[in-house]
Amino acid sequence: MDRTQLLLTLSITLFALGLIGVMVRRNALVMLMCMELMLNGVILSLVTFAAHSATLSGAVLVFLVFVVAAAEIAIAIPIVLLLSRQRHTLDVSAYSELKG
């Protein structure tokens, strides 16, 4: 298998594993970490394409995505902490009053 193809397959698999984690796990923090895994899979494909086409702008874009991911975590974790302080649990099934 070609190297680019191998890495793209790995990126798809990581994305799918993270997707399963987000849908299946109950713990809100674990769901957040599985989302990070999904993002890592997508970044892997971005880096693969950037390295394959030898463009520096791809690397710059990856750097900007890293910054956005850091900002996302900085917002998401306080929200999770507040939720757990309110309900005394991280189980997402305790937050089901938004269900229609």
Partner: protein
């Protein structure tokens, strides 16, 4: 098979194993450690690809900042929480089916599609500067062509800090 290819396979397998362990592990701390190992293997893959700047950023930003933050939060929380003991919710089978269908569809697209050769791609963008991903060309390109984006990320980070403080303040008001 060259050493580089061997290492590539090794790191790919390690990243996959980390991802699978994240689904199996019960305690969030173990999930976090599996995610960290997966991220470090991805950094190894980036280094093999020659994108050293990104490999360093992956370790510094993801493992060094984001995951350390996550580990601290896990240590702050109560271990007797029922969410720490029961791993899975109800929709296990449909969600695995959805992910399987998605990955099979994407994988079929990847295996069917032809990947354009690097020479052809280099012909596409005229300003081909034989991009090497070392620190110096990266920094020059970054701060000469993309300085505005760099400054905008600082604005984004400032907004994130203000939003985090606002979220915590709103929570305090609710409590008391």
């Amino acid at each position: 098979m060259s050493l580089e290819t061997l290492l590539l396979y090794f790191f790919a397998a390690a990243a996959l194993a980390g991802g699978v362990l994240m689904l199996i592990a019960r305690h969030p701390m173990r999930v976090a450690l599996a995610l960290i190992s997966s991220m470090i293997s991805l950094a190894g893959i980036y280094a093999i690809l020659g994108v050293h700047v990104i490999a360093v950023f992956q370790v510094l930003i993801y493992v060094g900042a984001v995951m350390v933050f996550m580990v601290y939060v896990i240590m702050l929380l109560d271990v007797r929480d029922p969410a720490f003991l029961e791993r899975y919710g109800r929709a296990v089978v449909p969600s695995v089916a959805v992910a399987a269908v998605l990955s099979v569809a994407l994988g079929a697209a990847v295996s069917r599609g032809r990947i354009m050769s690097a020479d052809y791609l280099a012909g596409l963008h005229s300003n081909s500067m034989a991009a090497s991903f070392e620190v110096q060309p990266f920094s020059v390109e970054f701060l000469e062509r993309y300085w505005l984006h760099f400054e905008l990320t600082s604005v984004l980070l400032l907004a994130a800090v203000v939003a985090a403080i606002a979220v915590v303040k709103a929570g305090r008001r609710h409590d008391g």
